[in-house]
Symmetry: C2
Subunit: 228 residues, 2 copies
Amino acid sequence: MTDDITLFEAMHSARSIRKLSADPVPDALITRVLEAATQAPSGGNAQDWVFIVVRDPELRSKVGAVYRKGSDIAAKVYAARGRPVHLSERQYQRFMTSGQWLWDHLAEAPVILVVCLKPRAQPPRNKLPPEVSYDAEMAYADRIRGASIYPAVQNILLACRALGLGTVLTTNHLRCENELKALLGIPDEVATFALMPIGWPLQNFGPLTRKPVREVAFADRWGDAWAD
Amino acid sequence: MTDDITLFEAMHSARSIRKLSADPVPDALITRVLEAATQAPSGGNAQDWVFIVVRDPELRSKVGAVYRKGSDIAAKVYAARGRPVHLSERQYQRFMTSGQWLWDHLAEAPVILVVCLKPRAQPPRNKLPPEVSYDAEMAYADRIRGASIYPAVQNILLACRALGLGTVLTTNHLRCENELKALLGIPDEVATFALMPIGWPLQNFGPLTRKPVREVAFADRWGDAWAD
């Protein structure tokens, strides 16, 4: 446990950890991780997040089967897409091998965290003034949903790192989300945004390889170099 | 500067800061913040993020006008929606007052950071095997875009906190996004996800008031209490 890790050390070493030990994780640590999640901002401070902590082995096995099904589709998409230009052949192979390992082993993690978001209360159509387009507003609401949940997900990733726990943000289950929702009794109107195995890592944390800032930042206008 | 702040201290005090001094912020600090952003995960490790650091006063003023226009629509939506049940009247008034202040003062921040995401390379339709639905795959890609940018946004919020800088995640500009894109020369295929004023805070950092974990977490299945 490295409870007192600095923010920058945590951010610069919070590698995606896919190989996890089956050893149990104390509930108190999961609570601590979730407390960190709830510190994140959300649109209108609505805090519509819900976190389902799946520990039951039988249920985990079924969640793993759903994840495997979604990943089988992902595998075909990856194959059709080919290697992204920014990854070397070696990086791409490592990425694919590591991802594939998880497709088969997700259920072995002692905890599978399912990150959900309830729909935000919207104004009734007849209460909006005529100059505001209801359809545009619904499209806007849809577009910004991720802003109300993925900051919390990043806090989960960082809190796990600080507590010595491994995890990774996965979304392949969304390709068969209804099966996952049926399994866990998630109401129709609630959407899932991430599925995160959590456990003690069998891999090392960071450092991370990333594009340098000068390749991803502009000064004032698109195309004008940011000199770092 | 509190460079050595612990992760948990940063997360538990990274309040949304809307009142910012007009004093300049050294470029080196912005680079540090962006470096933190790039440590975040992204789907397939694609790192398709682009950060535009708007410092030019004239440009900031124009960005501020776009934000004001989007916020005017937001104001009508908020009025139609009314106070969310989880906020007390006092909390709601504070929230609205603080938000409204920013609608008029965004351009005074020395830096306005525009967070963009390039479209992820998708497989050509004819390369996908028949059992994979192209339309379903495009819907999936659309749905998970936030997972590739809002973790980076959260790292920006936390890094600012650690460096003593104030910022807040805003999205009102999305209601007139094309005007912002034209202003900054952002290509059609690139989407913006957040507009973040950054500067020295005129408000104090945390602590934050949030729903307790027991209200937002379930054990194994939706509805089963997580005992924290």
